[in-house]
């Protein structure tokens, strides 16, 4: 067994014979075997979430980190199902509630298959600066050994599952903008193409090792952007695409004339609670370890959510005398979306500030900008996620702090507190433009395939649930 061999080698000079009784033959000890010090250091590395030595005896994942990442993966799935399904489902009219649920569930069933087949590989296999390679198709080589590019103490396949949950919720966010009028088949087809054209490249460029805009880990990245848990990758891509899609698709019949109140603010509020709870998996989980960075992200997430909700409701109280439940819900979600890119990088004080700005800006976007521009973003995917995600991306550039996240010093020392925000603007603009253009192209492509992206007017009047799914949300 591994004994403190080199010490004993000195002792051998004096007590060779005796030593032979109790020590393993030093000649049998290859140079590659871990010394006791190395072994202890490896164990310390587990606690510190640091890299282990090359000779490590523990080439597995660490239980604490794996436990947290499995929990986080479950939490992020919980955000979509039932979280987002309820948040969105409650906001549509009764006759369309199932269509929204079906879109969320449909994505939860289709995306994992794509992810297994090729999606994960295109995002996180080694490839070029813009897209991953094909090393990991069908999750080949994605096993329980940690993939050092993304974590030191979390199983590679847990990492793949964790990221899958992001690939499910991101297109599901788009659903909010086109609710109550887009065909189920068109939504599915659009989202699948969109994943390939927008999401996979964006995830690879910003989070992939060697990614073109991965400022944290890629020393050679031409654009040095940071995005802790998906301000650009998740909220900007989905939010800006949602805006374009809802404009191309046109307004709901009767929009602006007939009242279209939420059919159940209760469901919407339940969904909000679930989103908030699940978001801890989203943000604190993005540390890919149960370490100090996760702890900091947990704090920032909590404070920004609260500040966002409080701000939106306060503005309503101030402007209209009535704080609304939808205001509290929207503000909290805005606070969560906005802190996302910054969560593992900023202090508690910054988080409060970001939450405050999040609440105020999304409130204005949803209640003023939308009225003024007259697009019909049914459930405000743009107003909350694009506005929040974009703001948060910028704020991350201003507030990122190496005291909170030491990794910021590795490649970004020269930018931190200086021009990091400019890098953020660059990355945000590129992704924004790409999302917009891609959405236009995919929209027309889907229309060419399916004939139309919209349900016919009669179906829209009667509700999508019956015509598209043969079911009703509520019965006697």
């Amino acid at each position: 067994m591994n004994t403190p061999t080199y010490i004993s080698r000195h002792c051998l000079l004096i007590a060779l014979l005796l030593a032979l009784f109790v020590l393993p033959d030093p000649g049998l000890l290859s140079a590659a075997e871990a010394t006791p010090a190395e072994r202890t250091a490896d164990l310390e590395a587990y606690l510190n979430n640091a890299a282990r030595s090359a000779n490590t005896a523990v080439n597995v994942a660490g239980p604490g980190h794996n436990a947290w990442m499995m929990t986080s993966s479950a939490l992020v799935l919980f955000m979509t199902l039932p979280g987002l399904a309820l948040f969105y489902g409650g906001l549509v009219r009764r006759k369309n509630v199932l269509s929204v649920v079906a879109q969320c569930m449909g994505l939860a069933c289709i995306v994992p298959i794509i992810w297994w087949a090729i999606g994960y590989s295109l995002c996180f296999a080694k490839g070029n600066a813009f897209l991953g390679g094909l090393d990991h198709v069908f999750l080949r080589g994605v096993d329980i050994t940690p993939n050092g590019d993304y974590s030191t103490w979390v199983s590679h396949n847990i990492w793949a599952m964790y990221q899958l949950m992001f690939a499910i919720i991101t297109p599901a966010l788009i659903v909010g903008a086109i609710a109550e009028r887009m065909k189920f088949a068109a939504v599915m087809l659009f989202c699948v193409l969109w994943l390939f054209v927008v999401y996979f490249p964006a995830a690879h460029m910003i989070w992939g090792a060697g990614g073109w805009m991965n400022g944290i880990w890629n020393a050679d990245a031409p654009i040095k952007s940071i995005d802790f848990a998906g301000g650009i990758v998740v909220h900007m891509t989905s939010g800006w695409s949602a805006l374009v899609l809802c404009i191309l698709l046109g307004k709901r019949l009767g929009h602006g004339k007939e009242p279209m109140p939420p059919h159940s603010m209760v469901l919407c509020a339940i969904g909000t609670g679930m989103l908030w709870v699940g978001w801890y998996g989203f943000n604190a989980g993005s540390a890919v370890a149960a370490d100090g960075i996760a702890a900091n992200a947990f704090v920032a997430t909590t404070l920004s959510a609260a500040a966002g909700g409080a701000t939106w409701a306060s503005m309503e109280y101030w402007l209209r005398g009535k704080p609304s439940i939808l205001g509290l819900c929207s503000g909290a979600v805005a606070g969560l979306a906005t802190i996302t890119p910054a969560s593992g990088f900023v202090t508690a004080n910054s988080a409060i500030l970001i939450g405050l700005l999040a609440g105020a800006s999304t409130f204005l976007a949803c209640s003023k900008l939308k009225q003024w521009l007259r697009y019909d973003d049914s459930l405000d995917t743009f107003g909350v996620h694009a506005v929040g995600g974009t703001l948060g991306t910028l704020m991350a550039g201003f507030c990122a702090d190496a005291k909170i996240n030491p990794n910021l010093s590795t490649n970004l020392g020269a930018y931190l507190g200086k021009t990091l925000w400019l890098e953020q603007v660059k990355a945000a603009l590129i992704v924004l433009v790409w999302s917009v253009v891609a959405t236009v192209v995919i929209f027309y492509l889907v229309r060419a395939v399916l004939g139309t992206n919209r349900v016919d007017p009669e179906t829209e009047r009667a509700g999508l649930d019956l015509a598209e799914h043969g079911e009703e949300g509520y019965n006697e």
Partner: protein, 112 residues
């Protein structure tokens, strides 16, 4: 026989029912309805959008009574349902030609 239809404020239902029971009315049928009238509705705001809801929740009571009970019933309803505030509702009376109790096939005044 006459049919009385009364549109009243929902929270007055229990009182109206009690008043009718007191004068010996044995049956009635109620429906949740929405009324439009002088009483103003309300405004709901969801994010940017304001919706004016003109229709106010009301309860409709229908009862068929023999001709001799009609005055007493109407009075009972009006008295019990009154708050004096706008939106108290209406009572309408019309003629009914026939009534049948399904259980017994009884007809006319015996049926109600």
């Amino acid at each position: 026989m006459k049919k009385i239809e009364a549109i009243i404020k929902p929270f007055k239902l229990e009182q109206v029912k009690d008043a009718l029971q007191e004068i010996g009315i044995k049956g009635m049928t109620t429906t949740e309805v929405k009324g439009f009238g002088r009483q103003k509705g309300h405004t709901e705001i969801y994010r940017g959008s304001e919706y004016t809801v003109d229709f106010v929740p009301k309860t409709k009571i229908e009862l068929v009574v023999g001709d001799e009970q009609i005055e007493a019933a109407v009075d009972a309803i009006v008295k019990a349902a009154k708050t004096g505030k706008i939106g108290d509702g209406k009572v309408f009376v019309s003629h009914v030609e026939e009534a049948i109790r399904i259980r017994t096939d009884e007809r006319g005044d015996q049926a109600v």
